[in-house]
Assembly symmetry: C2
Homo-oligomer: 333 residues x 2
Amino acid sequence: MTYSLMIHGGAGALEDLKYEAGESEFRTSLLEILAQGRQRLEAGASALDVVEFCVMLLEDNPLYNAGRGSVLNGQGQVEMDAALMNGSDLRAGGVTCIKNVKNPIAVARLVLEQGDHVLLAGEGALEFAQAAGAELRENDYFLTEARLKQLAEAQAAGRMTLDHERVKPGQSVGRAVGRALGQAGEPAIAQRPAPTEKLGTVGAVAMDRQGNLAAATSTGGLVNKRWGRVGDTPVVGAGVYADNETCAVSATGYGEQFLRTVFAKTLSDFVQFQGMSAQDAAQAAVDYLVRKVDGDGGAIVIDQAGRCGSAQSTSGLIRGWIEQGGEAVCKLG
Amino acid sequence: MTYSLMIHGGAGALEDLKYEAGESEFRTSLLEILAQGRQRLEAGASALDVVEFCVMLLEDNPLYNAGRGSVLNGQGQVEMDAALMNGSDLRAGGVTCIKNVKNPIAVARLVLEQGDHVLLAGEGALEFAQAAGAELRENDYFLTEARLKQLAEAQAAGRMTLDHERVKPGQSVGRAVGRALGQAGEPAIAQRPAPTEKLGTVGAVAMDRQGNLAAATSTGGLVNKRWGRVGDTPVVGAGVYADNETCAVSATGYGEQFLRTVFAKTLSDFVQFQGMSAQDAAQAAVDYLVRKVDGDGGAIVIDQAGRCGSAQSTSGLIRGWIEQGGEAVCKLG
């Protein structure tokens, strides 16, 4: 049986994605990771091993908002979320609000293998990681000059942003973070990022030569997010999902919208209940996201037939894929 | 338009449910809460207000594993999870691993109203609760003699349990908690509770006179659970879900299985894609839970037509309901 592999490095406005690092820098990085993933899949590695491996490489690259290079929360700290899922038996593992682990996705894998729990948060997750022998790093490892500047700008503007280094005057960025809490009765509107901001997350989906599917997603979350915020990334059915009977999904975007629409499971539903292909299901799920919550972001998907698909409501989605053993392809728009 | 209301106090083996508190004690408590919920719905209160109110009453009653009376984690502490969701706009709020708040569901409501985030964890969630003026309690408030004894027994037996005060020798309780972590490569089997154990959670679903749906769920989680464990309860699509186009769901059971199957969204899918009634969708979702992960637990649901339904894979599910303004009914089996 042949194999398929797809990876992503976040969604956002195309012009900004290109501005941030240059198209060629993203292409070089994606093609290198796809080549290494292909080697492993050809050698018979499991989809679960390969999605974990690819996401580790994305986490290690400060170009992406995950692992090293993660954005900073409102306290100036890196708090990371990651999860993965195995399509043959629905085993899953995730961590949220975890600090100081070099590769959150590797800790998520340890959670999956340990088997008692699916999702661990905060200090408890870090204690688990330490006991399990996960690689740790000091705070300095995660902090980059660009992220410190980005946080300072976001805080000066009194806003929470997703992942973008430049504040554009006059942008609609929703309600300020620091306003009064608990105004019961007032209809709350989920805070929206400026539409041109990059929504950083990384992810991978794969089908191995045994026909098994797996998905993995990892992120540093939102710039200036509240301490303890859990996004969609570590949540099965929101930012990640895999079931051999349907598809494997990794999502990226404004996490709260993906949690509220149970996005990754919704995408899988279009395969399960309506027999859609990966591409059609990705588009249907993004249409649903926009219709229900006016959502920003997108997803990559491989269906049970090994077909690759993706869709996004933003103009850009950094992604690359190998469909059924074919040529590696990269697209940003 | 008429209203409907349904509440639950956990799933488990029927003989154990009756043993723990006596059938009449549960019935009295459920009927009292239904009567108070009915008053509010008749007066025109929103479904969201009423599910929050009913769950607060369940949290305040030490009979149930939520709020006061929550089970203890492996460190002998109460860490609580809660979430609610509004079906008209998919707004949602949740807290996980939160300590010292009298009513986790009220903090979840503050998260929903504040609007920036959907889910907050641990110390960050507590800080939010304090800033928002939530009612706090010292540790002593939550601890009951019975829960301390239950934890001691669970730890002596080297096991993690769900919510049951008696250890039965020879029960199959899955893998011990304290074993070596991170045995990559070993196929992990999610730890199962003994089939006769009570799976404690509380929840409510409602349709108000405007035809809006809402759902709320709250729990202390698993006895002797790992510090920082996030179950299904605070996760939209797993332990709680509401969409005016389909139904409102509150689930209870072995949380990891409900996370892996995205249970509450799966139930809603049967309404959305197959046009099922509340009762048929509840049964179809429980059948799916059993088929996919051999899962233990159940759910209550009200569909967009105001019909009540429930199903469980355990022999018991403590529940009561008022369907379309009719008589209040309670069932334990």
